[in-house]
Symmetry: none
Subunit: 137 residues, 2 copies
DNA sequence: GTAACTGCAAAATATTTGCATCCTT
DNA sequence: AAGGATGCAAATATTTTGCAGTTAC
């Protein structure tokens, strides 16, 4: 019942050290991660290039999805179990601190329902709030 | 009744060739513009740096706002009239089409209020919905 | 005239690509 | 063994900074 292996094998991609470590980071982390977070992580210090390629693979395979934010940062977050490649369902609000730059997943804060105009089909909703976190207050 | 001058003067920033040309581009264009669009524009070919600085100034003064996109490009769009510097009241939902990859401002769809846990201070909320747009339906 | 804006050069960052080597299956 | 993944080096691309010259008010 190794969740890590399970996730990777389900996608039919080979299980390597790099992928395991990076995926573990996501599983452990409370919220979304930026590319830089992963690079800086002591437990998973790979080549920049490997991080780029791994994240790209994960996105393609539907393991993670990216959350664009207005300030040009890109965050990556784990997809829920029922995600299929290309079908992401992730509904927690993410918070980015303008001061310490950390990203926090506000599990308690549900993503509000958004009503789209006619003709649009909703697949996923991402909400990113920025401001000052509880640590920096 | 020169809209261009009006917009710039309202923000108390000096009226220069560069700013007029770039702002004109936004007024003429039907949708959002990427940095590259502006740089490439024959009618407004300035130094890269000037484009960066002009866009930054416009964002700061509330003339334009940036739109997060899934593919890591940054788009800029004109703010509505009631924007103040630092207080973007054009807080609408953005939609990214999974199929054609275009980004659309859903002007009619307001960003829902998000309640943060105690200790957090909210400055900005970004809502990005992805799915299939009306064109690709 | 003064403060602000611009262009140029260059530094600092970020991302992509090619290739040889190593690992997974 | 074969195909894919990784690390390194280097090519590209992007963004920021400093400074001298120019322009707006």
């Amino acid at each position: 019942m190794d969740k890590l292996l399970d996730i990777l094998k389900k996608r039919h991609i080979s299980v390597t050290e790099g992928r395991k470590k990076i995926l573990e980071l996501f599983l452990k982390s409370p919220g979304a991660l930026a590319h830089a977070d992963i690079e800086r992580s002591t437990s998973a210090n790979f080549d920049r290039v490997t991080v780029y390629r791994t994240l790209q693979t994960f996105v393609e395979k539907g393991i993670i999805h990216n959350i664009p934010t207005a300030d040009n940062a890109i965050l990556y977050a784990l997809c829920k179990d029922n995600c299929e490649a290309g079908h992401h369902h992730d509904n927690h609000v993410h918070f980015i601190c303008d001061n310490c730059d950390s990203t926090i997943c506000l599990e308690k804060v549900a993503v509000p329902e958004v009503k789209l105009p006619k003709g649009f089909t909703k697949k996923q909703t991402d909400v990113v709030v920025s401001g000052i976190c509880i640590e920096c207050k």
